[in-house]
């Protein structure tokens, strides 16, 4: 039995009304009843049931053992990250303890990681890392002698120049991300009621279904280095992630789904769940989802070049997998050649001093790691205090995600600008046992003029497309271009949405798209945040950071079909 669009709308809206998720906000009351304001105090907290974690003081003591062992082993520099991460995906939990010691001897690094938290084990790991660095440095010396006087000297010299890490001030201290309610101090009962109430609310939306994720992670991480640094940070990250899907019973494979903006992980505790607008925001997005789902759905076949509007989520994904990755200093200096790849924004010295902007003057990007961002820290993973800094200023590339190792390649540029040479605090180890590498923080693309809504961006479009709800982006190895597969593609004719399209994907050249192709940016109301997951290293590890961007109007994009094979 098929269901008409009219039936679909009528039934779904009725379901919303009966669920009380409209203006009457009965759903909010429903949620409120389930939240900790009414919790039954007789129930035990999550923390009280779990295995106890070592105290920060124990981690500090072990960290000092490691740096002493590395120093005695002759490391030019060594550092350690050690700690515990407790995570709750109610009701399941995960507790991971671990450490990673990094040692440098001349131009060679060595890394050793483990999970056995004894003095002997940590000291042995530090000695092993140091020994590994000594052997690697000797190997490099042999390589150097083999290529002395040949063309290779140039390549090796580049490596040497960046291995002379800039010094960092000795840092000592303790920092905790601000939290009102420690998620592990919440009772098990409250988590059950939270997840049950989200589930019930989301189940009551008729043809519209919802997904709700609940997650918190609390990590205590100690960093110590042979330069005398010793810092302890406790970060709490997490929150609710909500999305809404609309489908029809006769075609379950055709689904429209949106994440609910304004939710997601932040640097906050359980208080992030105590929002009074959950039901209202769900209802708003449910209505939007139903509206887009109700458009006629057809297979795309009009291959060609078109103007395209990205919503903020799509723009965040495209920027995140192209321009932002190209600003990764590890890529730009060649540290990732055999792994995640290269960057088209090289050589760095030429890119930053170019008189012609690399991108449209509309494009301005910054990065920072301040609260309430989920990336917030007081010190990065080598003891540098991160700062909010400009990456792209009106189209000009002015900085990269740098670390103590890679910042020296910008020394001349900083000198010309009268800026002290320092790392921007972008070294990130996803876990204490991970090799730390450069990564973006909380990256933001500046919005356009006020009043530039998505409607305003599509208004003058005679025939084009609006991409909504995020996109999967496949970038080329040098990030010079790629493809994107949007979550939702809407055909626009004479400024109005006329259909949803299946089997669409788009090809782009990064420079062309963000240099001459970018026509306008949406205003602040169009800003959306996407988590950008990338892989780095060999073996690879996932690095994640949020990127917030406005909607964008771009011209001349190749729009193609996924199911036609050339």
């Amino acid at each position: 039995m098929s269901v008409s669009r009219r039936q679909f709308l009528t039934t779904s809206v009725a379901a919303l009304t009966s669920a009380g998720l409209g203006a009457r906000s009965e759903g909010m009351a429903f949620i409120s009843r389930a939240l900790p304001t009414a919790r039954r105090t007789s129930r035990v907290t999550v923390a009280s049931c779990l295995p106890e974690s070592p105290a920060a003081e124990q981690f500090r003591a072990l960290a000092l053992v490691a740096v002493d062992a590395a120093r005695q082993g002759g490391a030019d520099y060594a550092d350690i990250r050690i700690g515990v991460l407790r995570e709750i995906y109610p009701p399941s939990v995960q507790i991971a303890l671990g450490y990673g010691v990094r040692a440098r001897v001349r131009d060679a690094w060595s890394f050793q990681h483990g999970t056995i938290l004894t003095t002997d084990a940590v000291a042995a790991a530090a000695r092993s890392a140091t020994l590994g660095a000594h052997v690697a440095a000797e190997t490099n010396a042999r390589f150097r002698s083999m290529v002395a006087g040949s063309a290779h000297t140039t390549a090796i010299d580049v490596v040497d120049s960046i291995s002379d890490s800039i010094s960092a001030p000795v840092v000592r201290g303790v920092w905790e991300s601000p939290v009102a309610i420690d998620p592990f101090s919440v009772t098990v009962d409250d988590y059950q009621r939270l997840t049950a109430s989200l589930g019930l609310m989301l189940d009551r939306l008729g043809f519209v279904s919802g997904n709700g994720g609940v997650y918190w992670g609390v990590e205590t991480r100690v960093f110590a280095a042979t330069n005398g640094s010793l810092v302890t940070q406790t970060t709490t990250r997490g929150g609710l992630t909500l999305s809404v899907s609309a489908t029809l019973p006769h075609n379950m494979l055709d689904t429209v789904d949106f994440t609910v903006p304004g939710f997601g992980w932040t640097s906050a505790g359980f208080e992030a769940a105590l929002r009074s607008d959950i039901a209202t925001r769900m209802a708003e997005i449910a209505e939007e989802t139903i509206r887009w789902r109700a458009l006629p759905f057809r297979r795309f076949s009009d291959v060609g070049r078109y103007p395209v509007v990205f919503d903020g989520n799509v723009m965040a994904n495209v920027i995140g997998h192209t321009v932002s990755l190209a600003l990764d200093s590890d890529r730009a200096v060649g540290n990732e050649i055999e792994a995640s790849g290269r960057s088209f924004l090289t050589p760095i010295a030429e890119v930053v001093t170019a008189s012609k902007p690399a991108f449209s003057p509309l494009l301005t990007m910054t990065s920072g790691r301040e609260t309430p961002s989920a990336t917030a820290v007081r010190w990065d993973d080598e003891g540098v205090t991160p700062e909010t800094f400009s990456l792209v200023d009106k189209g000009h590339v002015v900085d990269y995600y740098t670390t103590r190792e890679t910042a020296p390649v910008l020394a001349d540029w900083y000198r010309r600008r009268g800026t002290p040479l320092r790392s921007r605090g972008c070294l990130v180890a996803p876990t204490p046992g991970s090799i730390p590498m450069a990564s973006g923080g909380d990256v933001r693309v500046a919005p356009g003029e006020q009043g530039t809504t998505i409607g305003a961006l599509t208004r003058d479009m005679s025939h084009g497309f609006l991409l909504l709800g995020g996109a999967e982006v496949i970038a080329s190895p040098g990030l010079t271009g790629g493809y994107m597969r949007p979550n939702i593609t809407v055909e626009i004719q004479r400024g109005l949405p006329v259909a949803r399209l299946s089997n669409v994907w788009l090809a782009f050249s990064t420079k062309a798209l963000f240099e001459k192709g970018l026509v306008a940016l949406g205003d602040g109301s169009t800003m959306r945040t996407a988590d950008v997951d990338t892989y780095k290293g060999m073996p690879w590890e996932t690095f994640r950071h949020p990127l917030t961007a406005p909607a964008a109007l771009c011209k001349e994009i190749d729009v193609m079909q996924t199911d036609v094979h050339g």
Binding site: G98, A108, T115, G132, E138, M146, E338, T480, D563
Partner: protein, 471 residues
């Protein structure tokens, strides 16, 4: 009475022994009286050396441990805890947490057929362990790094290399008496070399690699020599118009493509209409009749542990025989409800072979090609259209124009867009299947990637859709 399947231990193991894991399993499961309880322990050790531009960039070694304990009361939802410490107090508290929480989960407290683990099945033998590889974890990998970089330097080239050795010990046990343990090892060497004077630099490189459960079978000198040979050929590439062309796909290219085919054999996804096999019935011809596709935990060129993290057995299966669909992978519980005698998870490890007709080497394929492209390796694999198996990726580590039976020129890398279900029906020639390395390949999961044993192939009308630098 608990049944235990144990792989013989070795004195050189850098990971927890089967005995240690079995003792641990009994210790944990004896702590709880809950009927539905299972535990998986995975202990991994790895040693890595990365060479970047003729320079040892980094060495990395260490181990990780993870214990996943799942517990449930009757038909109530199961819950889990993951920890990485195995001292008695931590284990006791973890069990206590689960028991307390599991009681409060919604659902019927009485056991249901769905809530109970399936009976303990017979498991195939495990053959994926090598003492030599385990010993290599404590060897000086820098010696190997020097061995693979020296030929690159002597050839006047610049190079990168990856040398990785890994060992894993895994155990699954449950309250119903199942207890299976197994250990595996793996090793990989990959070298990329390029002419520093070539205007494209590392974008016109030669890549060579090998992977094996057994470290001793890896020939670092040959790998380096192959990378040098390809790098010399790859220098100063020309631009060539994209389009449909005859292609010779080397083993490293085929491995990346074939690895992406495993999920297509998942019965659930296929029956729901999601895979290239959805419109076919068993015994339909899917690919060229020369092609057979199998998985075997005891494959002599790269077996794998014969069980999953949830204790499900992995049996030897033939998915395609002479091009015809012979089996789909039914997850054990789905198999039980679908009347399928033997469940099996979808294959992560595959062997694609030609069992009829002559087997040609890549050189022989080139000699028999009037005009075409030889692709040594592809990278950045992504699924474009799952229903047709349409993949995209870029050529990487050697791409050459063939004319009149010879390599004429190196060409700039292409993006391709094609499906194995299309191009393996346009097969011209096929070679001997061997396991190959993947190099950087996060699109295929964690390193080390399950063995993929493939031949080089020559096919008509392969779709080179664009120049890689353009998209």
């Amino acid at each position: 009475m608990r049944e235990t399947t144990v792989v013989p231990d070795t004195p050189t193991s850098p990971v927890l022994s089967s005995d240690a894991l079995t003792t641990l399993a009994h210790q944990i499961l004896d702590m709880t009286t809950v009927d539905v309880a299972s535990v998986t322990v995975t202990h991994r050790a790895a040693g890595i050396t990365r060479v970047s531009r003729n320079h040892v960039r980094l060495t990395d070694s260490g181990d990780t441990l993870q214990l996943a304990l799942r517990l449930g009361f009757g038909g109530r939802g199961q819950i889990g805890i993951r920890i990485n410490q195995i001292d008695p107090d931590t284990l006791h508290r973890a069990v206590q947490y689960l028991e307390r929480i599991a009681h409060e989960q919604p659902g019927d407290p009485a056991p249901t057929p769905r809530s109970m683990p399936l009976p303990s099945p017979p498991y195939p033998h495990n053959t994926s362990w090598s003492d030599g590889t385990a010993r290599a974890l404590s060897l000086d990998r820098h010696g190997v790094a020097a061995a693979v970089v020296r030929p690159v330097l002597e050839a006047g080239l610049t190079g990168t290399a990856f040398i990785g050795v890994a060992a894993e010990s895994k155990m699954y046990a449950d309250k119903q008496g199942a207890c299976i343990t197994g250990q595996s090892t793996d090793a990989e060497i990959a070298v990329t070399a390029w002419d520093p004077d070539s205007p494209d630099g590392p974008a016109s490189s030669g890549w060579a690699g090998a992977a094996s459960r057994s470290w001793g079978t890896l020939d670092s000198h040959r790998i380096a020599a192959d990378a040098v040979h390809l790098a010399r050929l790859a220098s100063h590439p020309i631009k060539l118009e994209p389009g449909r062309r005859t292609a010779i796909l080397g083993r490293p290219a085929m491995a990346q493509i074939v690895r992406a085919m495993g999920r297509d054999y998942d019965a659930g996804a296929t029956l729901m209409g999601f895979t290239p096999l959805s419109d076919h019935k068993l015994h339909d011809r899917i690919l060229d009749t020369r092609i057979t596709l199998r998985s075997d935990p005891n494959d002599p060129d790269g077996g794998y542990l014969p069980f999953t993290d949830y204790g499900d057995p992995r049996y030897a299966m033939t998915w395609l025989e002479h091009g015809r669909l012979t089996n789909l992978a039914y997850a054990p519980r789905f198999a039980a409800t679908s009347g399928v005698a033997q469940g099996n998870p979808w294959p992560e490890s595959l062997r694609l072979t030609a069992e009829t007709g002559p087997l040609l080497t890549v050189d022989e394929m080139i000699a028999n090609c009037a005009e075409g492209i030889y692709v040594n390796r592809v990278a950045d694999i992504d699924m474009v259209h799952r229903k047709s198996g349409l993949l995209t990726g870029v050529t990487s580590g050697g791409c050459f124009l063939i004319r009149n039976g010879k390599i004429e020129k190196a060409v700039k890398d292409f993006r391709f867009m094609d499906s194995a279900y299309f191009f393996l029906n346009k097969l011209v020639a096929v070679g001997q299947a061997e396991r190959t390395a993947f190099g950087y390949a996060p699109w295929h999961g964690e390193w080390p990637i399950a063995p993929t044993i493939v031949p080089p192939v020559m096919v008509h009308d392969f779709n080179f859709s664009a120049l890689a630098e353009n998209v």
